[in-house]
Every structure is written in structure tokens, then in C-alpha cells.
Symmetry: C2
Subunit: 421 residues, 2 copies
């Protein structure tokens, strides 16, 4: 398709989404929740249709010879559809953030100023071939009052289309404009480039997927991006740490689910306790099949481990591998984390209040922990009830993003004829 | 300079700013305020030096034949230096937002989660030839704990350099890293392009100036931008408005200072009152030298006025010109504003509670007013005590931006050995 034509078509879609967002912004929580409940029914009641569409995607994936991990993510079954539906049910139960008065105050001239939470407007989500993301994002954007434009991976197109059509029907039956949700089904890869140029209509883009997708979106986008690059998370074990506690936390943060962003990738240990702590710590990690890559000092204490290279300190393994470094003190630990980390989640294990506070204050990450596993960086674990992603950016939203992070604010000013002198 | 070399030099500057920002982030309010007070002394005590530098800029501007408006903005005198110093004094008096616990809660597993306000990090400000912006931005960024990199207009280079050196000395004398503030003095225009590519170190860029500067920064930047495009502000006079009040507010919002962004550019009037309201309203505007550009219906009521074209509805005149349109009701007014407005400030004058609430809810602007002049959209008028700009964006900050808007947050999680099951 010619770029001009493509642009016109996508701009029209985005403008309709924008118009629809004004209607959505004024909807009552009751109405929105009723629609979400109807979406639950639509998914559960039409699971066969979704599974049939998913089979088509799976057949294509097989023909293309896509990897087992890829196919696993693409696969839907009754349980997964039930989970998608449950997730919408949970979203319906959450507090509606829209309309909340964040603060309000009056001025000496009598003006009453309120800072009120409102939807962002139109959100674009670009994601890979995980069909459950389609319904999750629709649910979260709908509840927070935002129109959503979805661009999913082409290998999930049949599954996404089936889910989208069912949910679009629900919206339509509820008497709402269908444009509050839109799945971009054009195969043309240039569609993404065009979408990312529509900054006059689309307010926010969230890429969800691997590092290369996120980089591509960030490089091309004229629209503000909130992204999650990677999680190179650290644990620092201070001199004064309760060592059995440290061992439990490290094992949990590395081993419980190594493939996720909030698992640790680097262990930093104070040299005052390294000789005492590292042998048993490394032994228990190796028992759990973790490969250790140590600095020179670590290798001086525990032989028979790999030597870490400079590259290791910045690597998100997402696997049973841990780099280990002996540092002189909390200051060196903080400097290492701020240099090599990814501003995601980092922890200190210590009984020293001053070192704990120093670490919490000076480590420049979205989530900083004392004496707890970084694995808690998660919208559900934080009590948000839902999560659309974890931001490693600093603007607008940082860390786990729930419904509130899908809103912005406006100032509402009520007067009685005030003019400026 | 070769781009590679330029990049290396600017990256070094940015990295030093980043390192310095970690120190600045932990500074006490008392220490920061003492430095701000010393900056006040430095400006007032060395005003002759600043004025001498400013004379050089003015001589160059004269030689170049720059416009009177431009020269006026560039000009410093004793009064303006006093104002710059006063502004720093005011900033010293403001509450320090850093460290504020925005909220905190505990989880069933005993984790205590706090959302804590922290500086953003490194802020880049690109601005035109107004030397007072140099000290204002240094003061606001310093107080909010951010390192600042300044790139001012080349025509103010001598003035900016003089101000910067004085304030840099103050920081140095206080034992702080000089890199908390940096003025980029390279003449090479490519420096801006390179700065805007340093998204791994610089956290935020704020362009301050005309539309073309802002567009250029937005188009080139890989760093998140918070910007203020323009203020196409509206007044809508509803059927039920108190008409003398409406007239007072309109006059104020258009005439009191027409060249600023929060002055109105379009007046929308309900057709039910247009015949009654418009003749006296337009007469008083014309008495105040305002040129009226009306829609067909307006011209049907008041002859001898210009006809507004389609272009007028989206134009920020910044001058004594007002476009006037008769609309059928509040719905048409809202649709017009959301279509032609710039998401800045818009008002309704009405005695009808339902229409007021509808307008406040549905107009998608940073500041929405009922029965008060849009001229109040201003950090000082809002009671923020300072203003670094007014955002017409929706993410991170919307409307007037004070110290709080120059911060972000982190999650601080305190545990006692919690691990994830």
C-alpha cells in the first residue's frame, strides 16, 4: 500500500479512537464494569471459536518452524482462556481511578483548584505473539477510560482477531463506539512506522516484548513511549547481613523463576563477609543448577567457577546464571548498580540501618529493597490488582504500572468571576 | 568538529552531570537553600560583570539587525538582574519536594511499600535568547535535585556565560560538583542534535521558546520531551451565563496581556444569547483595540467585522485579535474546543451546574475553568511559587510545572526476609 494511503487509513482509525475516548472518559464505573463482565462471558462462551483460530496460528507457526518457546507463548487452551477471562473479572473489581481528586486547594482570590485524575486518551500497544495480551490490554485500557489501538505479532493474527471481534461485539452491544478498541490487522510492516508517527492523535505507546522490539519502537516513535528495557537486578549483601536470611533471599531471587525481569542477575558481597558467606551461598546455588561467574576475588575464595567478564555485569541472563562480585562496601555496591544496572529492582540485605537508608536513597532504580526479594516487583504483589507492564523509564510511570499509571490529570478551576489584575 | 568527537565530548559532559545528580539527590534542603542564597548574592554582587557581558550580546544583535522584540528579550538591566535574584530567593523559600512520601502501605506478607518522590536526574533545557531563563532553570533544577544541561540561544552567549560562571562558582565554593550545572557553549549547531540523542544519560528535555524550536526538538529527540506547543485558548459563553461577568472575564482574558499563551484566541457563544450578548461584547472589545473575526452568524449579528476563515480557529494570535463563533450549545462548544484547541486552557461562563460539569469533564485540556479567566494558568497563580513551563502534553506533567513536576518517584520496599512463594 502506498505510504500516503496507509497514513490516511491509520489516521482515520486513530481519530475515531480519539473521538471514542471522549465518550469513554465520561463513562460511569458501573457501566464500564458491566461491559467488562460481558467481555468475560464472551470469552468463556466462545472459547471454541478462539481455540479454532488459535489452531490456525499454530499450524502456520509449525510450518514456519518457529521455536518451541515461541509456540508455547502462542498456544491457547481452555485454561488460558479461563485465565484471560478471570483477568478481566479482576479488572472489573478494581477501583476506577478516573475522576479521583488527587488534591484540591483554594487561592486567596477564591479560585478553587482541583487536580483530577483523567484517562490519557488513545494508547497504542505493540506486542509480540501472545494472544492473552490482547484481552489484558483491552481490559486495562477500557477500565482506565482509554481507547486502545493494538498491533500484535503477525503470527498470532487469527487468535488476536477472534478475541478482538468478540470483545468489539460486546462494546457495540453495550451501545458504545466500537472505536474504543481497534486491532490493526494490516500485514504491511510499514503500518507500525506510520502508527508511531501519529503523535497528534495517539498519546502514548507501550511496546511489550523483547529488547529489539522495544528499541525499534523507541527509535521510530514520535509518540511518548513508556518502556521496559531489561531487568539487570542486583543483590548486595552487606557486612552486617543476617547471612541465613541473605541466603534464602538470594536463592529465591535467582532460582524461583529465573526467566523473569525481576530475578537477580548479579550478587554483590561485602569483602568483610565474603570469605564466610560465599562458599555456602555458591554451594547452594550450584545445587540449584545455577552457573556462577565470579570476579577475581570471588574466584580466590571459591575455585572451580567461571570468571566473569566485563560483559557479564550488564547482562540480563534470564537464566540460571549469576555473576558474583566482591565489593569493598555499600558505596562500591551502589556505584556498581548505578553504572551497570537497568534501573529496575535492586536490594540490600543488611542489619545496618544507615547502610540500608543510604542504599534505598542512592540506588537509582524503580524499586529498591531492604531485606526482601526483588521478585516482588510486580503489580499484583504490590497490590495494584493488575499490571500492564513494568516501566524502567523515569517519566510518568516508574516500576509496576496498574490502572492509575494509565491515567493523567487535568486541573479543574472553579471561580465566581475572577479576573487577573 | 567531527560528529564522533562532538558526541564523545557531550557524552562526557552528560555522564558527569549524571554522576553529580546522584550527589545532588541526597542533599539536604538546608544545604540546597544555602547554595541558592549564595547564588542570589553572586548575581547581585556581580551585576556589572553580567551587564558588561550583556552589552556585548546587544552590540552583536544590533550589528545583525535583530528585531526590536528580540533585543528587548535579550536586554538585561539592574532591575532584571534583581528579578533574577529574587526568583532564586523565592525558590529557596519553597518546600523541597524531594523525599516526600507520596503514599505508603503494607502488604499481607509484611512488606512495607513507600512511593517516594525523587529527582528525575539530568534535565536538558534548550531555550532562546532570554538570559533570565539561565538562572531560573538553574535554580529550579538545583532545588528539585536535578543536574541541568543548558543550551541557550547563541545570541545570548556572553550573558549566559557570565551568569553561568558566577553560579558555577557558587556551587564549587559550596563543595559540590560543578557538573550539577553545565552551559553548552559550543557554537556548532550539531551540538543540539547530539545532545538530543543521549537518551541513555539525559532523562528529560524541555524546549523553551517558539513553535519552530519546540517542533525541532520534538522531531529530533530520542529523550522524552515535555513541551508547550501553543495556547489556542477558548471561552464559551453558555445560555445561562451572567452576561456582565462574562464580559468582564472575556475582556480580561483577551486584553490584559494578549501576547501570552493563556490569553484567549476564540470566543464561542451560545446562539440563544448571541443576539443579546455579542453587540455589547464586541463593542467593548473593539474599544480595547481588539480586531474581531467572526463566523457567518456572528457577522449576521454584528456587521463591519472581518469574516473568520477555517485557519482562524486553530491560530494562536498572541495579539489583539479574537475569533468569534456562535454555537448551538455546550456540546458544540466542547467539540469545537477538542478539535481546534491546543489542550492548554479553556473556560465556560455559565450559571448552569450541569453544563459546567459537562464542560469541565469533557474538554480535554490541561486547565478547564468555570467562571474565571484562563489567564490564571500560571505556576505562581496556582500557588506553586515557581514555574519552569506549562505543559500541553499529557504524560508526566500537564499544565503549569513547578518543583514537584521536576521530580519522579521510586518505590522503597522494606522487608524482614520476605521471599516470593
Amino acid at each position: 500500500m502506498r505510504k500516503e494511503l496507509l497514513r490516511n487509513r491509520l489516521l482515520k482509525i486513530a481519530r475515531e479512537a480519539e473521538k471514542a475516548s471522549f465518550i469513554l472518559a465520561s463513562l460511569s464505573p458501573e457501566k464500564k464494569n458491566a461491559v467488562l463482565e460481558a467481555m468475560v462471558e464472551a470469552l468463556v462462551g466462545n472459547k471454541d471459536e478462539i481455540l479454532k483460530a488459535n489452531k490456525k496460528d499454530l499450524a502456520c507457526a509449525q510450518k514456519k518452524g518457529l521455536s518451541a518457546v515461541f509456540v508455547e507463548r502462542l498456544t491457547l487452551n481452555e485454561k488460558r482462556i479461563r485465565e484471560m477471562a478471570d483477568s478481566l473479572k479482576e479488572i472489573a473489581k478494581l477501583n476506577d481511578p478516573v475522576g479521583e481528586v488527587i488534591k484540591s486547594w483554594s487561592r486567596p482570590n477564591g479560585l478553587l483548584i482541583s487536580k483530577v485524575r483523567v484517562p490519557i486518551g488513545v494508547i497504542l500497544i505493540i506486542y509480540e505473539s501472545r494472544p492473552n495480551v490482547t484481552s489484558d490490554c483491552i481490559g486495562l485500557c477500557f477500565k482506565s477510560g482509554n481507547s486502545v489501538i493494538l498491533r500484535g505479532g503477525s503470527d498470532a493474527i487469527h487468535s488476536n482477531r477472534a478475541i478482538y471481534r468478540l470483545l468489539e461485539n460486546v462494546v457495540d452491544s453495550a451501545g458504545l463506539p466500537k472505536a474504543v478498541l481497534h486491532l490493526v490487522q494490516m500485514i504491511d510492516r510499514k503500518a507500525v512506522d506510520v502508527l508511531l508517527s501519529l503523535d497528534e492523535v495517539i498519546d502514548l505507546v507501550m511496546p511489550r516484548g523483547g529488547e529489539s522490539l522495544i528499541k525499534e519502537v523507541h527509535d521510530k516513535s514520535k509518540i511518548p513511549v513508556i518502556k521496559h528495557y531489561k531487568g539487570v537486578c542486583h543483590a548486595y549483601i552487606d557486612d552486617s547481613a543476617d547471612l541465613p536470611m541473605a541466603q534464602r533471599i538470594i536463592l529465591n531471587a535467582k532460582v524461583q523463576r529465573p526467566a523473569v525481569c525481576n530475578a537477580i542477575e548479579t550478587l554483590l558481597v561485602s569483602e568483610k563477609i565474603a570469605r564466610n558467606f560465599l562458599p555456602t551461598m555458591i554451594e547452594s546455588l550450584e545445587d540449584a543448577k545455577v552457573e556462577i561467574r565470579g570476579c577475581a576475588k570471588t574466584k580466590g575464595i571459591v575455585k572451580n567457577i567461571k570468571r566473569a567478564t566485563q560483559v557479564d555485569w550488564g547482562t540480563e541472563y534470564l537464566d540460571l546464571i549469576l555473576s558474583v562480585k566482591v565489593v569493598s562496601d555499600v558505596n562500591e555496591a551502589i556505584a556498581h548498580i548505578n553504572h551497570f544496572g537497568s534501573n529496575h529492582s535492586d536490594m540490600i540485605v543488611t542489619q545496618d540501618q544507615a547502610n540500608a537508608e543510604k542504599f534505598l536513597r542512592e540506588v537509582d532504580s524503580a524499586c529498591v529493597y531492604v531485606n526482601a526479594s526483588t521478585r516482588f516487583t510486580d503489580g499484583y504483589q504490590f497490590g495494584f490488582g493488575a499490571e500492564i507492564g513494568i516501566s524502567t523509564d523515569k517519566l510518568h510511570a516508574r516500576g509496576p504500572m496498574g490502572l492509575e499509571e494509565l491515567t493523567t490529570y487535568k486541573y479543574v478551576i472553579r471561580g465566581s468571576g475572577q479576573i487577573r489584575e
